[in-house]
């Protein structure tokens, strides 16, 4: 990796990239006095953008069973889907994984990006649409940058708080309007119309109770009697907490403690799956927009908020249009690039559109044939 480069102009950078043609190009999220200084002290850190990384790899999706495999390097056990933390057979953690992304993964990543923007950044953090820069990473997800000069100098501790907020880390429902009142067993709680986590918790509980089974609820509240009470009075419970003002204590047979447990379980579904390490880093290397991703030959595409909804990464990020190449496919699941769809296939030679072939070659799943 060649680091500490500084360019006087966008043109100089472009020329450099044309001559060197690197497989991957990154820039730092930090602003420096002297970006080319070889050490951190010499660079003079001025600040950094706030960055969020949403990566399909971090989000368990059902489709992973269709296209991801893992193999234990110790005992050879193998499986499909989201890789386990350790080999279920021998307990070792050295797993080799082969991961692919499909439309489903990218759709989930996009939903997560919308959640981050629409549920957290705009309403809670008060960030405006135009202060949010979105970039398809060229592979499995999206990078979001918050361009607000006021937060450039925010330290790692402050950024951790932002990451924890959107992930719901450390959430304590008792700080969000729940309070026991003198009468035993009676308590007050938040309103679904409130902002921030306060309203989100109330809405999450409403949604959760609307759809949960008694079995699921029993697991959450750890009491068969409480689960039974709530499920028998489900309609009343929902009507109570949706009323204005909300009414949390109208049904006998469960305590604040149970509601707090439900709140925590329900809130987890409303948290946003970001890679927190990226957010709390004050000098992160980020793939340069409009360059090719070395693992996919797809373009990292910068997007406006208004373009995100209709953005189809496997079509819009295709850089090589037209032409075809012959490849020998070692093994691949079903893959779509642009309009071309093929697979699963293994040990087969095929002629495919150039972008499709380059994608397989960059993924290490195919070799070029002449």
């Amino acid at each position: 990796m060649i680091r500490h480069l500084q360019f006087a102009s966008a043109r100089a950078l472009k020329e450099y990239l044309e001559v060197k043609a690197p497989a991957n190009a990154y820039y730092s999220s930090a602003y420096y006095d002297t970006p080319s200084a070889p050490d951190m002290v010499g660079k003079g850190w001025q600040g950094a953008d706030l960055v969020f990384d949403i990566d399909a790899d971090h989000i368990p999706t059902a489709c992973k069973a269709d296209h991801d495999t893992w193999r234990c390097l110790d005992c050879g056990a193998a499986g499909r889907g989201f890789p386990p933390a350790a080999c279920p057979k021998c307990g070792m953690k050295k797993l080799e994984t082969e991961t692919w992304v499909c439309e489903e993964c990218l759709k989930v990543a996009k939903e997560e990006a919308f959640k981050l923007i629409d549920d957290f950044m705009i309403p809670d953090f008060g960030v405006s649409q135009k202060e949010i820069e979105i970039c398809f990473s060229g592979h499995r997800g999206y990078h979001l940058h918050i361009l607000d000069e006021r937060l450039r100098r925010l330290g790692s501790d402050g950024r951790r708080e932002v990451a924890d907020y959107v992930r719901g880390v450390g959430l304590d429902p008792r700080d969000h309007g729940f309070r026991e009142i003198a009468r035993e067993g009676a308590f007050l709680g938040p309103d679904m119309r409130d902002g921030g986590w306060r309203g989100r918790i109330a809405r999450a509980i409403y949604a959760y109770i609307s759809k949960c089974t008694e079995d699921q609820l029993r697991q959450v509240v750890k009491s068969a009697a409480v689960a039974d009470t709530i499920c028998r009075n489900r309609a009343k419970f929902l009507e109570n907490i949706a009323s204005d003002p909300p009414f949390w204590g109208g049904i006998k047979g469960y305590s604040l403690e149970s509601v707090v447990r439900i709140a925590l379980a329900a809130a987890a579904e409303n948290a946003c799956a970001i890679d927190e390490r990226v957010t709390l880093d004050v000098k992160r290397l980020i793939r340069h927009p409009n360059t090719l991703h070395g693992k996919t030959a797809l373009r990292a595409v910068r997007l406006d908020y208004s373009e995100l909804e209709s953005f189809d990464p496997l079509r819009s990020a295709v850089a090589f249009r037209g032409g075809s190449i012959k490849v020998y496919v070692k093994g691949m699941p079903r893959v779509r690039i642009g309009d071309h769809e093929a697979g699963p296939a293994s040990s087969v030679e095929m002629e495919v559109p150039k972008a499709f072939g380059l994608y397989l070659i960059c993924k290490g799943a195919a070799e070029p044939r002449s």
Binding site: K93, G126, R160, E161, L280
Partner: protein
């Protein structure tokens, strides 16, 4: 309107600085006999902070009180002792918080806006049963609030709406005071302050303070812990130890946390390696290299510290926090506190169960 008495209470306000500038005084002018009261009061402020005594505001003579603040700061910065800077900053913050908590909402708003370039609104909203008196920008909140370790200060547990964090008056006063402390401490590492020397005439006063600081500091220095004492291990580290003992494979961060913790309480590399012995994917050669690296015996020669509580919490390693947890921000601090408690209780580990780990701040 902020009166002279207010400037005496809150000498960090821009108006207080303007008041001093208006008098056209330099630090060396304060060495003159007509300012002996100012010098006495400045020395007293620093003395009290060294001794850990409560500093109260002297409002009977506001001018002396205002002038004594920059002079006290001058003594503290000229001492070049980080411990003293922290101590002074803490006692000033405490004094300031006491005063702020007595102020009506409107005055608090005025002070909030006139001190650190914050934009503060006394804009009470009522949410169900509670009233939140203040709001300020989330990025300003985050400059200060991560200093607090109680979970109720976490942004996740604050009412955040439209880019504003909503706070009760007493929490807002606490935040303002903490920002004052931060500013005093951070200023110490600025170039101008690091080069600052006290005028000769004032040196005898500083020497007296240095002597006192030296005496006091000795009693506060904590001995480096010697080896692992069972009853003093924080719950997070205990949990990792339990996992390792049962042969469970633990995350990279958990390994890093337990290794740094053990090294820092004075355990040797061998003791640490023994803990990992049960784990299925244990590779002694590799583990030894990593533990020695963390201990500063190889590689970069840096001795690593365990991650602080916030980091452990983010990585999901903070489990079963107890009452002692609510007093600390760092697992090593927990360990030292518990050791101290044990020593005080004649070697008996004190039960600190219950309490749920929710401190007041």
């Amino acid at each position: 309107m902020l009166a002279k008495e207010d400037l005496a209470k809150y000498p960090f306000l821009q108006k207080a600085a303007a008041f001093i500038e208006g008098r056209n005084l330099s630090i060396s002018d304060l060495a003159g006999p007509e300012f002996s009261n100012v010098v006495r009061r400045a020395v007293e402020r620093v003395r009290s902070s060294i001794l850990g005594e409560e500093v109260t505001t002297e409002t009977s003579d506001p001018e002396t009180e205002i002038l004594s603040y920059p002079l006290a700061l001058a003594f503290v910065y000229a001492s070049k002792i980080t411990w003293l800077v922290n101590r002074f900053a803490t006692s000033e913050a405490k004094r300031c918080e006491e005063e702020l908590r007595k102020e009506p909402i409107s005055k608090l708003e005025e002070i909030g806006n006139a001190s650190f370039g914050w934009k503060v609104e006394a804009n009470p909203i009522s949410l169900e049963w509670e009233k939140l008196d203040f709001r300020l920008g989330v990025w300003q909140y985050l400059e200060v609030a991560p200093q607090f370790h109680s979970v109720s200060w976490k942004l996740t547990n604050k009412y955040l709406n439209g880019g504003h964090v909503y706070l009760k008056a007493k929490d807002f006063a606490r935040l303002l005071a903490e920002n004052l402390k931060l500013r005093i401490v951070r200023r110490a590492s600025e170039e101008e302050i690091r080069k600052f020397d006290l005028p000769q005439l004032l040196m005898p006063h500083l020497e007296g303070l240095l002597k006192l600081a030296e005496e006091r500091k000795g009693t506060f220095e904590e001995e480096a812990p010697q080896g692992l004492v069972d009853g003093a291990i924080p719950p997070c580290i205990q949990a990792i130890m339990g996992d390792l003992a049962s042969g469970k494979s633990v995350s990279h961060m958990a390994r890093f946390a337990i290794t740094t913790f053990m090294i820092n309480v004075g355990e040797g590399v061998e003791d640490v390696l023994r803990r990992f012995g049960n784990v299925a994917d244990f590779d002694e050669g590799k583990a030894r290299y990593q533990v020695e690296h963390i201990a500063g015996m190889s590689g970069s020669r840096t001795k690593y510290s365990p991650p602080k509580c916030d980091v452990l919490r983010s990585f999901g390693l903070c489990v079963n926090p107890d009452r002692t947890c609510s007093r600390v921000t760092h697992p090593l601090r927990y360990y030292r506190l518990r050791l101290k408690d044990q020593r005080r209780n004649g070697g008996v580990a004190q039960g600190a169960k219950g309490g749920g780990g929710r401190g007041s701040a």
